[in-house]
Symmetry: C2
Subunit: 294 residues, 2 copies
């Protein structure tokens, strides 16, 4: 039983001042602190991050903030699911010690004008189709890390490029925090858990379950020595067959730097990355290609 | 006698790891820490920042790093004065406890790709003539603050726009550090002390001493109710008369936000800002206009 699970009263704070008072008290008591930033609408994937944090730190803070800076005007900021009471109950059961739920004005008061850009790992994949996205993510995560000042912060590998952007920012800015990546949690049919899965119709939900199978098959072909160009061609055809509306991207990139491995057989560990549209819903997923483990 | 002055052995470290070990030891002993970031080539202005830090914190760390990211290719990065031994002796006498002198590769290792932009207060004045400058300053100062994790950091008002950019960044990113501004230190004739004054010929040095008098006269006219446009016209004529080669900018801005106060009489505190060329040397200075104190 991790130490954090014994905290009987999960706190809820809405200001940086209250957050710091709670975290400072833990620090003064010699306790270590983990942070799990979320946008709420929690599912088992998020709760696995809390469990991971609890296994590494004495206390876990989760934040719930739907960050306007990482949505473009045409995206789903307004309709993004918000259900605070359910989220709080899930976090309580997962052994979270404190939840930070700031209002937008607490995060971005009048006169706010600072932004952080991480250039190379932000390029391509989600950075190409959502050019505003990683700047918004980097800036808000930097703020959350400075607000909570945790020892560790846990991010899911579902947003793999985001994880690399945050790792790079924390390293480049010398922030004294360990960034921990946690594996994707999947539904029974392998669909990566996502708050946006709630947008899917029953019919779309069945199609959605094919995405992970296609990219897993691509990874398998690459692991067996197949070429990158052939794997992508196979994947595009398979996604069209499965009934996805459109492919935003389907690509293979180096697992650490997101570098382009060329079109032939892989010489080092990589990852298959996919973003597809199913009706109006955008789904992303990724799968490891472990060449060095062969 | 400030506490820091009793530190008999000023340390010199060149890596973040050593810096943190020293600062962590102070923290463990309950001592507070001030940081004074510099580019070396120290003069009495820098030493006044160390003294200010010593008056506010138990220990003072000075950094010496000529930051390549804040120089454009045509600027004086290569010729910027470097004289480590003299600087160390001056810091020792000023009561500095520790000097951090990182190599460029310690600050910007391979793969570095993160940058910080502060939009509004970076615009105009030095931000117009040196568009690369404040991004480079904000990024390196963020790194230094995260590396040393001081309670306070002291910056001179000579680089007044830089002070506002750093204040804004620290506030916007929720960095738990107090940014302290310290007054300009001037030579006998009022010339603001600057490492770049060393570039001036004997003749230029005499002309340089007129800059502060012109902007002080502008401030006086504004304080007595004169219009901004008239004050600037007076200043431009006076600088040309004095023998400056060119005026990069001569402007009046709000003291807190650097906002444009319009062309008429001032309704709130402001500041006169000047950047001039004297031969190849660029000199900057600024002067307060205290309307509210009338």
């Amino acid at each position: 039983m991790p130490a954090a699970a014994v905290d009987p009263q999960m706190g809820v704070v809405r200001t940086v001042k209250e957050l710091r008072a709670r975290v400072d008290a833990w620090r003064a008591a010699g306790l270590s602190v983990g942070l799990v930033p979320t946008m709420g609408a929690l599912h088992q994937g998020h709760l696995s991050l809390v469990e991971r944090s609890n296994s590494l730190a004495d206390r876990t803070v989760a934040s719930i903030f739907v960050n306007p800076a990482q949505f473009a005007p045409h995206e789903d900021f307004g309709s993004y699911p918000r259900r605070e009471e359910t989220d709080l109950e899930l976090l309580r059961r997962a052994g979270c010690s404190l939840v930070f739920i700031p209002a937008a004005v607490e995060m971005y008061p009048d006169g706010f004008q600072t932004s952080i850009a991480v250039s190379q790992v932000s390029q391509g994949l989600c950075g190409a189709s959502r050019p505003h996205f990683f700047g918004g993510v980097a800036t808000v995560v930097c703020k959350l890390l400075n607000q909570a000042r945790p020892d560790i912060a846990v991010f899911g590998e579902k947003d793999y490029q985001q994880l690399l952007v945050i790792r790079r920012m924390v390293k480049d800015l010398d922030m004294p925090i360990e960034i921990v990546g946690a594996p994707i949690v999947r539904e029974t049919d392998g669909l990566a858990m996502s708050s946006r899965n709630a947008y899917l119709s029953q019919e779309e939900r069945i199609v959605a379950g094919r995405l992970n199978k296609v990219i897993a098959e691509m990874a398998d072909r690459l692991q067996r020595g197949g070429g990158v160009a052939e794997a992508i061609a196979f994947g595009r055809a398979a996604l069209a067959d499965a009934g996805f509306s459109a492919v935003d991207y389907l690509d293979v990139r180096g697992a650490d730097l997101l570098d382009d491995p060329g079109s032939g057989a892989l010489s080092k560990n990589a990852r298959v990355f996919a973003a597809v549209l199913l009706g109006k819903t955008r789904l992303i997923d990724n799968w490891p290609v472990e060449i060095n483990a062969r």
